[in-house]
Amino acid sequence: MAKLPVSLTINGDEHDLLIEPRKTLLAVLRDTIGLTGTKEGCSTGDCGACTVIVDGKAVTSCMVLAVTASGKEITTIEGLASDGELHPVQQAFINTGGYQCGFCTPGFIMASKALIDENPDRTEEEFRHALGGNICRCTGYTKILEAVLEAAEEIRTTA
């Protein structure tokens, strides 16, 4: 089918694009815009590596047709830092070493940011459960969870 006009607001910048309806949001972010921080893992919604925030909600971008994201606000890992300052969730992942190969890290950080924005007062068990849609194949979950708890604490105390 012919390409359709799509207007995406990505990390605050508006992009007016012509997109084939079969392209996923993930493919457009990576291949059209060149924002390769968002990762493609399983591409079936199971691993969470492609997590981005759309209108405040964490979603797996491999399951979203880009044409349906027209007019929506999209935040990717590239949009978290501001004025050279890392977002507290990013900083916490560095502080705790909450990454190994790094492939799952952007998805974990975006999912964690959305969870903390929604409710930073979750218990460790609640964060663990709520991050069940993100898989780390290096299995470094202990440090990841430490990072999320540290970031939640940081955001809670500075809010």
């Binding site: 089918m1 359709l4 084939e20 309806p21 079969r22 996923t24 591409s43 079936t44 919604g45 199971d46 969470g48 997590t51 909600k57 964490a58 979603v59 797996t60 491999c62 399951m63 979203v64 047709l65 044409v67 349906t68 999912a111 959305a114 969870l115 459960h129 709520a130 069940g132 849609g133 993100n134």
Partner: protein
């Protein structure tokens, strides 16, 4: 993914006309359809998004505590809704069992039901809520009880061009509960799903409802078990009999997830257990 024509109608009538064409698929949240199109198990020639049609989202509560849920309401919204948690606990619990939060932020309750998987996690909760399903097409509207919606795996009574618009939940039971039998804490499909809802009248069970998922070609009510319970006091022996009756009334299959024998045995166990939880909530 194969190419397709993409439509974003803004009225139900237009969506229905487009959907009545051959090789057309509806797009709700996309969590089943987009994955199916990638795997080429779905190769629609046209995809009709329901996302731009007003009036299909949201949860509203009437004065008599009856609740109406728009078909395009996100599963996550059903899960966190205070009214659903309070009055239809089994449905909120079922919603919380689907995929991950990322998926529940996309998936819709209408999609979960219209996909007609016998293992859908919201279906047992809707069964015990005695939900009515509002259906619209270019030819008009009709209403079907949820236990008459399904005809087989992936099959419903929906005719070409018909679209589920809303679920209507009449006045709630005082206690309900859902148990998903699974291996993983999240991101798993149900071996079986069991929901129970009860009212208690001076220590006597009334309006017992039991909904079973993934134990038959369609989701089913365990009506024989319900009949055993109604009008009686909840004793351990009675719950045992209800579990056995529910197990006897199902027709599970063996598949790569587990055996028919295991499913049947677990219907017995989990019917008892969901009933206990529902009864505790009803007497709280």
């Amino acid at each position: 993914m194969k190419s397709f024509e993409f439509y974003e109608p803004t009225t139900l009538a237009e969506a229905s006309r487009l959907f009545a064409e051959a090789h057309a698929q509806l797009l709700a949240g996309g969590t089943d359809l987009v994955i199916g199109m990638k795997a080429l198990t779905e190769t629609p020639e046209s995809v009709i998004s329901l996302q731009k049609i007003p009036g299909l989202t949201g949860i509203t509560t009437e004065a008599d505590n009856s609740i109406s849920i728009g078909a395009m309401t996100k599963v996550r919204e059903v899960e966190v809704s205070g009214d659903i948690q309070q009055h239809h606990t089994a449905l909120a619990e079922g919603a919380s069992e689907i995929g991950s939060i990322q998926i529940r932020n996309l998936a819709t309750i209408g999609g979960n039901i219209a996909h007609a998987s016998p293992a859908a996690d919201t279906v047992a909760g809707l069964l015990v809520a005695d939900a009515q399903v509002d259906i619209a097409s270019a030819n008009g509207e009709r209403r079907v009880p949820i236990d008459e919606l399904f005809t087989g795996p992936g099959q419903t009574v929906l005719r070409p061009g018909e679209i589920i618009t809303r679920f209507r939940l009449p006045s709630p039971a005082s206690g309900s509960h859902y148990i998903k039998h699974k291996i993983r804490e999240v991101m798993d499909l149900a071996f079986i799903g069991v929901a129970a809802a009860v009212n208690l009248d001076n220590g006597t069970i009334t309006d017992a409802r039991i909904g079973l998922a993934a134990v038959a070609p369609t989701p089913i009510r365990a009506t024989e078990a319900e009949n055993l319970l109604n009008g009686n006091a909840p004793t351990p022996e009675l719950l045992e009999q209800a579990g056995e009756a529910a197990a006897a009334g199902c027709s599970p299959i063996s598949d790569l997830r587990c055996s028919a024998e295991h499913r049947r045995e677990m219907v017995d166990v989990l019917t008892r257990r969901t009933l206990q939880h529902a009864l505790e909530r009803a007497s709280a």
